[in-house]
């Protein structure tokens, strides 16, 4: 009879445990069930404690932010030292930064993901690349800010600019896009590659015509999640492109810009007399921006799963 290896291990552990616990068989059963019921309730409680604050926080922000949420708020520039008016430049700035990040990180990241999944052989170079990606993923956001300051703002002399900030954010977003691209490509069955090649297609033709289209939903999901994180980050843009007092829209990629995360930081810590409604309203806008992207990504992912042809 087939006995899976795990069951032998499990059996040893469990019988050990049971042996320790019993005086009499029936009494043990009842006690074990009581322990289980109590334990389950503790776990449920802990899960609740974890989850309720999240809901509470989001709900609170929605409640306190909606009053100032109006068309004017979204489309007008601020006035009175940022204490009234709208937050248009911050919204536009965040959009610019998101686009800028996408421009640099998407082509590079997807191509790198294609390389690792489809072209790279199993050698030291590939292992180094993997270590590099893991390392990039682990660098703290404020260190990216330092790096961006040193390299793009000062060394390349881009100054505090959308360009510098976007480049900094792109490198930060790269690991996410590379990893999701690799994962999505790997999930496409190998047999499609073999068939493609057997019909006279080159490796790139096979990737371009068969594999990549199938992996696209996963890749797009990864891109959106990466950009979502970039849009919400403050530290990388603080010294590389974000500015607070810029009541007008940025004029070129070399100008600094307002951005929602940085704006929130400043108005909640450094501006006396800042109306609370505006603070909550701004936070609500950022939350909608970021979580909206999350919703889109989830939608794409679920939709693709349904329509999969394998």
């Amino acid at each position: 009879m087939y006995l899976p290896r795990g069951s032998v291990y499990a059996g040893a552990v469990v019988s050990n445990w049971c042996h320790k616990m019993r005086p009499s068989f029936a009494r043990t059963s009842l006690k074990k069930n009581q322990i289980q019921t109590a334990g389950f309730w503790v776990i449920r409680f802990i899960a609740l404690v974890t989850v309720l604050p999240i809901l509470g926080m989001v709900g609170y922000i929605i409640a306190k932010g909606t009053p100032s949420f109006s068309w004017e708020f979204l489309t007008q520039v601020p006035s009175d030292g940022m204490r009234s008016g709208g937050i248009l430049p911050a919204i536009i700035g965040t959009i610019y930064l998101t686009i800028g990040t996408a421009i640099f990180s998407v082509p590079l990241g997807v191509a790198a993901g294609v390389y690792i999944s489809e072209y790279a052989k199993d050698n030291i170079l590939t292992r180094l690349i993997r270590i590099a990606i893991i390392s990039l993923a682990g660098v703290p956001s404020v260190v990216y800010g330092l790096f961006g300051l040193g390299l793009f703002v000062l060394f390349f002399q881009f100054g505090t600019s959308i360009l510098a900030a976007s480049l900094t954010l792109s490198i930060m977003t790269l690991p996410v896009i590379i990893s999701t691209t690799e994962e999505s490509l790997r999930s496409v069955p190998a047999r499609f590659r073999i068939v493609g090649r057997s019909l006279g297609a080159t490796q790139w033709q096979t990737i371009w015509r068969i594999i990549l289209p199938q992996a696209l939903p996963g890749i797009v999901t990864g891109i959106i999640l990466g950009l979502e994180r970039a849009a919400g980050e403050t530290a990388p843009i603080m010294f590389t492109g974000a500015a607070f007092f810029l009541p007008h829209l940025p004029s070129s990629v070399f100008s600094a810009t307002m951005a929602l995360p940085y704006h929130i930081f400043v108005i909640s810590t450094q501006i006396p007399g800042m109306p609370v409604e505006i603070q909550y309203g701004t936070v609500l806008v950022l939350l909608i921006y970021v979580l909206g992207m999350n919703v889109i990504a989830t939608f794409i992912r679920n939709n693709a799963r349904r329509k999969r042809q394998w």
């Binding site: 290896r5 795990g6 069951s7 291990y9 499990a10 552990v13 469990v14 445990w17 074990k32 322990i35 289980q36 334990g39 776990i43 802990i46 899960a47 974890t50 999240i54 809901l55 926080m57 191509a111 790198a112 294609v114 390389y115 072209y119 170079l125 270590i131 590099a132 893991i134 990039l136 682990g138 660098v139 703290p140 404020v142 260190v143 800010g145 330092l146 790096f147 040193g150 000062l154 490198i171 790269l174 590379i178 080159t202 490796q203 790139w204 033709q205 994180r229 919400g232 530290a235 603080m238 010294f239 929130i264 909640s268 609370v276 936070v283 939350l287 970021v290 979580l291 999350n294 989830t298």
Partner: protein
């Protein structure tokens, strides 16, 4: 035989693949370039002293390191049980309907920008704690640890959850067949079987906490003092990340202060590097060992 355009394409793809090595090296080199002068400009004894007061040229970074470690340690103390238990709940106990609600909520938390969490921290959590615990201010290491815990919980939950799913169903079935309750199975069999994954989750959570900037900057107060008393936990403190973020805007380029901030960046870089690389090394080793066993 490749055509010319195919050749160009595969070359470009290869260059893209190697770009990550280029970038990590660039980051490393730049940090080194701007940070090592600090070792020259500030005597080592002063650099590793306990007084951080840049205006008067006191560059002791120990309070900052202490602050980071304190806040991170306690945030993991909170996040570990919360995260692991939630992961256990989702993976082993929760009915599918609840699972479908719970997972998106955790994902929402993962998506909330840290500045938003810091915002709530300042405006809601800190006053609340100040009142409840009768403290002089609500901006303390404790507040920071609390926020950091919630920031690292999504990481811990999702990785631990994956690790639990990866445990073969045959383990659980065998335990139940031998008379264990589900509760005993979880703690006696499933969780131990998933322990490398859970360890990876915790390490990555630590890395996340250590590297977090905005939330801690906004709620831990602004006191670069050495956390050497129990009470320090309920008093303001400063982390390495917060120091860089709050002071970088005001330093003159290439001043000593500037170099020291970069030096702190080097420390952060290496700490996070070690944590993340060892975390993935552990999980890779586990995966190859599992392949040998099965």
């Amino acid at each position: 035989m490749k055509s010319k355009s195919e050749h160009i394409i595969s070359r470009s793809i290869m260059i893209a693949g190697m770009s990550s090595i280029l970038f990590i090296l660039l980051i490393f080199l730049f940090l080194l370039k701007e940070g090592t002068p600090a070792l020259m400009e500030v005597p080592l004894g002063d650099l590793f002293s306990t007084r951080w007061y840049p205006i008067e040229n006191y560059f002791g970074i120990l309070p900052l390191i202490g602050g980071s470690l304190l806040v991170t340690f306690f945030s993991i103390l909170i996040a570990l049980p919360l995260g692991v238990c939630t992961a256990v709940y989702i993976a082993e106990i929760a009915p599918p309907a609840i699972k479908q609600v719970l997972k998106p909520i955790i994902e929402i938390l993962a998506g909330i920008p840290s500045v938003v969490l810091g915002f709530i921290g300042i405006l809601v959590l800190a006053p609340f704690l100040r009142n409840i615990l009768n403290l002089p201010t609500g901006l303390t290491a404790f507040t920071g640890a609390l926020l950091l815990a919630f920031i690292s919980i999504p990481t811990i939950v999702s990785i631990a959850e994956d690790a639990l799913y990866a445990v073969p169903q045959s383990y659980r079935e065998a335990a139940i067949a031998l008379g264990a309750t589900q509760w005993e199975t979880i703690w006696g069999v499933t969780l131990p079987a998933a322990r490398t994954g859970v360890l990876t989750a915790v390490m990555l959570g630590i890395g996340r906490s250590l590297g977090e900037t905005m939330a801690v900057m906004m709620v831990t107060g602004n006191a670069p003092v050495m956390p050497n008393k129990i009470m320090s936990f309920f008093l303001p403190i400063r982390t390495m990340t917060a120091t860089i973020a709050s002071e970088m805007g005001e330093v003159a380029t290439s001043s000593t202060h500037y170099h020291v901030l970069f030096f702190i960046g080097i420390i952060l870089f290496f700490l996070s590097l070690i944590i993340n690389v060892s975390a993935s090394w552990i999980s890779l080793r586990r995966r190859s060992r599992e392949q040998l066993v099965s």
